[in-house]
Symmetry: C2
Subunit: 642 residues, 2 copies
């Protein structure tokens, strides 16, 4: 078998592979992150690399221009190694970057958490994480008092704190003789109470750092985590990162397919646990100046596929009719069972799923939103990588999943990206000159467009007459920014010229992108229509709409209504909640009883399977127009375009 | 650093080591078992090796004759590598050998277990291991019944068997989707009920092999295990092996000291778990034709130090005043936490200790003996590597540990060995010719003498006048078998001439050996005297004596009385129970409620610390004579020697 050496720049990582190997696979093997939202099927054009030297074979892609090819640009997924190569990997769009933030009292995130906590307490749930931190001074052993170390500790817990039924792991038991004697029998014990049993999580000396918990929203695209001081409920630090599973596909279906490949399941598990979550934890404990053993509880909210992959459980049957997950509610497990790098004895709570496509993140979000205790007819809309919708109030809850795909997080859109520094998050277009006015996150040149920017862009292109109600770009307008892409055989609009962009390439949106966005918004609107119909109601019966998810706080409701993503009702009825799933996970960390409430919520939701719902396809097709084929649903929008 | 290569024959294992390395350590590193009861301190003379070639340095030992040295015989612990060497390891006395046996209904072992079970049931404890094996045919998933795999299984357990509160490990959860579909949703679930929660231990198809448990007596010298079918309580196979920790010292104290050395604790843990217990398990599952996942429960009884080492818990403070173990009662743990190679989710029960030198093996033995339910004044005597004694009845229990050492299991006796094939287990000496008549275990030439043989030998030498009441060999007797050992400067008696022995060397007993045995029996007798005195009673108040432990079933009570090991009372009051600890462990495996009873027994025993008991030293010194300085205690023995 002939072997070739491939060197990747700028990291200079080198790997020896079989001749004929796929360059995307080679990069993954070398531990290099290459963005590949389509999972390496040649559709998305994001796995661009530059071949500096070396023999290789490449399959044709319309996503590369002749100029690209001359420069040595290739799509890694369509390139095969034929000899020793040197390859430059273009900068992946910050997937690996971790953003660590303080959460200060009074800021937006902090206020949302405070509100959600207040709501929970109003419903009678008391703040209690189940974790106890106890100072103990044990009597020193003597010939007359020769009780064993563990029994000595238990005796004191009983006498001083009336705590009985104490257990511990072998790891903690092993640590006892040394720490007791080193600390002269003056120690701090951290215990977790659960169903009447107190588990000793750690025993330390007076230099004890306290007990912390981590709550995490495991999103398909973005993972966000808060480090929480369990004795106060205070958020010490917050961090987000891209989900490193993205290298195996941007959407859930690509990942499920990849999980069935050789070692695919394990690679996906490692990507999320070691590649993403443990890296976040590392940053958080660095910031908080604690050690990983100090994190004694973890709560994880994710969609059904993410929770399966997080635990290394095969998600294959989620994708195949009749769409069966392995578990709805994960049994109680320990950190050491999962590879999550906190105190090995920490309990890991994975919030319960509802069905194959409505997961624990939605349950968590609904918990945080207070929908379950609401009198009003409330719509909860999670616009993340998919689109999940819950409609109801304290008496009933209906839910469905729309296959919106990752478009609102910038996935499968040629110029799309997450809401990170460099993302265009707001766009306005001059009605006459058709020149765009943009806002860019962070103090850098634009790299791409995130969800809220894409919604603005489509709405503004529609209002400016650049696109029609089918999303087609008018060929009749004479403007530099509107041009024909020969390779892809579609029209496109230039949002940012290369000279003003981060990497020197034009940032454009083409008809394929627009089509993807229209199908995404159509999936959401038709989903919510079906839920309302199932309840015998219409959009006019909506008292409240809660918007959550990765779409970003700069979402313009007005524009979302213009493109027909959101119902055309009074803007005052809309609430933006941000990452509701993360807030719910926080609640479950700090309020032990909230976990029970989350289980109740998951149990009481009625799941509507859209793919088998009789009129769903008609609803969907109608909703893929701008704003909708039934214009009577969007009176205020129609008044704007007339 | 100069490196030398040492090759060991006959295995031809080769290892590269630093010049100057100790040969015993080198052999251990090479994974070769060398018997070293004294822990490598040059005292016992058991680590004999033959240097075939190579430069080395050796320290003087009186345990080697000039002839030995000429032949290249060395003590490994006193030999240091100076160049490349070839070394032949003399056969270790079967420490590694595993003896696997059937336990057939009606045989002695089986009857003892039946009696102990009957006794338990008489006291109201119902046979119930807590393990359930359940056949299930799940309805296949459909669009109308799209419940998740785990919830589907739980639903059926609830409907068909009214089983709720079901949990499982991540491992079992991961196995679900495949096994359910492979087996067409017809499965067999094995569950363990514990405190109201049912834990799913395995899910299999119809080829299910059942559910088994393993009960083990972890002795300092010998480890014995039974494989038990949990649905019937039947013992499928039984196996014993030497405890491979013996290479680090025969007695508990040597092992505790070794545990404090660099990585010593881990080496000892690996020796018992991987080297001994897992090897026994491998043989047992081979014999039973099951897989290790089928063993879903484990019960382990051992002395306090052994239970610490089994779990990798530091035993150091057991040896140091005020003699504090780390735990008396080990919390509930899983097989996967311990390295014991059975179903990783199997619960491991370690029977509770009483004090530093009275462990779970004694609690287990007392449970099996029925002493705790007895009206009569009963003495329970465990003659294993130490000597532990319990005295009492259903109203009270006193216990103590005698530092008898491993003499009764053949340890620290030059000709001593365990009761294995090749062991002399009975000896009679002709009063005139002083010729011995021996019985050898198994159909091979004698290799050494085990406990019961040593007791016979001392009694017969005493009755024949070869030794006096101090254990000194008379220099006045003219007989070939009685001779002077110049090296050791002591007299010795030849039991077997080299021409008739297994390895061609004379099997002898010398005055040092006799002294060790007298101190061992003195420790036991003085211990039981103190217990009786503490209760305000004497040997004449004893209604029943139960003898347990490794001393072997061929123990002659008469001879044990002659040497003053056992009280001089009616022979009918003695019962021999064999490995009572293993029987108790069996009970705790098959009767879940017996574990609770064991905890009660451990809690209700009063431990008497002999080392601080006022008159103990006087008692001990008096008891080191043959039979005792207080001859009135042994009327029948005195009548024999007059």
């Amino acid at each position: 078998m002939e072997k070739c050496t491939v060197v990747f720049n700028p990291s200079k990582k080198s790997i020896s592979v079989k001749k004929g190997a796929n360059l995307l696979e080679v990069a993954r093997k070398a531990g290099i992150f290459v963005d590949a939202p389509c999972g390496g099927r040649g559709h998305c054009g994001k796995c661009r690399v530059k071949v500096e030297s070396g023999s290789h074979r490449m399959e044709f892609s319309p996503l590369l221009t002749e100029e690209d090819i001359k420069k040595g640009i290739r799509l890694a997924c369509l390139t095969f190694v034929e000899g020793d190569m040197v390859v430059e990997i273009e900068e992946a769009k910050n997937v690996e970057d971790i953003l660590v933030e303080d959460v200060k009292p009074g800021d937006e995130k902090s206020e949302r958490i405070k509100n959600a906590s207040r709501l929970l307490e109003k419903e009678g749930i008391v703040k209690d994480s189940g974790v106890f931190i106890i100072n103990l001074e044990l009597p020193k052993p003597s010939l007359d008092d020769n009780v064993a170390d563990f029994e000595r500790l238990k005796r004191e817990l009983k006498i001083r704190h009336n705590i009985e039924n104490v257990t511990c792991s072998l790891g903690v038991l092993k640590s006892l003789p040394k720490v007791l004697r080193q600390e002269d029998f003056k120690i701090i014990a951290t215990l977790l109470k659960s169903e009447g049993v107190y588990e000793l999580l750690k025993v330390e000396g007076r230099e004890n750092k306290g007990a912390y918990g981590i709550c995490t929203d495991v999103g398909t695209t973005t993972v966000a985590a808060n480090l929480v001081d369990l004795s106060t409920g205070e958020i010490i630090a917050s961090a987000t990162s891209g989900n490193l599973q993205m290298q195996y596909g941007a959407d859930i279906i690509s990942r499920i397919i990849y999980a069935s490949s050789q070692e695919g399941l394990e690679k996906l598990r490692v990507s999320i646990v070691e590649g993403t979550i443990n890296r976040l934890i590392k940053e958080l404990i660095k910031k908080a100046k604690i050690s990983k053993e100090d994190i004694v509880a973890g709560v994880f909210a994710g969609n059904t596929t993410m929770t399966h992959l997080l635990l290394g459980v095969d998600p294959s049957y989620i994708r195949l009719e009749p769409y069966i997950p392995v578990f709805r509610e994960c049994p109680q497990i320990k950190a050491k069972d999962t590879g999550i790098d906190i105190n090995p004895e920490a309990n890991i709570t994975v919030l319960p799923n509802v069905a194959s496509y409505v997961g624990g993140d939605i349950v968590s979000g609904v918990l945080a939103s207070g929908l379950w205790a609401e009198d009003k007819n409330t719509l909860f809309l999670d616009l993340g990588t998919n689109g999940e919708i819950v409609f109801g109030n304290k008496d009933f809850m209906l839910t469905c999943a729309c296959s919106a795909g990752p478009a609102f997080e910038g996935g499968e859109i040629s110029c799309g990206m997450r809401a990170m520094p460099g993302a265009i998050d707001e766009v306005a277009i001059d009605r006459k000159t058709l020149e765009p006015k943009i806002n860019v996150l962070g103090d850098i040149k634009p790299k791409g467009i995130c969800g809220s920017g894409l919604i603005d862009l489509i709405a503004e292109m529609f209002l400016s007459g650049i696109i029609d109600s089918k999303g087609k770009i008018s060929g009749e307008i004479k403007n530099d920014r509107i041009r024909y892409d020969e390779n892809l055989d579609v029209m496109e609009y230039v949002v940012v010229w290369g000279r003003e962009s981060y990497d020197g390439r034009d940032i454009t949106i083409n008809e394929i992108d627009i089509d993807n966005l229209l199908r995404a918004k159509g999936a959401v609107f038709s989903g919510l229509s079906v839920l309302l119909k199932t309840a015998g109601l219409s959009v006019y019966n909506l008292d409240k709409i809660i918007i959550a998810g990765g779409i970003g706080r700069n979402l313009h409701i007005k524009n979302a209504k213009i493109i027909g993503l959101l119902p055309d009702i009074d803007e005052k009825k809309f609430n933006y909640m941000g990452n509701a799933s993360l807030i719910g996970a926080y609640l479950c960390l700090v309020y032990e009883k909230a976990r029970e409430k989350a289980r109740e919520i998951a149990d009481s939701m009625t799941y509507i399977e859209l793919s088998t719902y009789p009129s769903y396809m008609d609803e969907f097709v109608s909703a893929c127009f701008l704003p909708h084929t039934d214009r009577s649903l969007f009176p205020s929008v129609i008044s704007l375009i007339k």
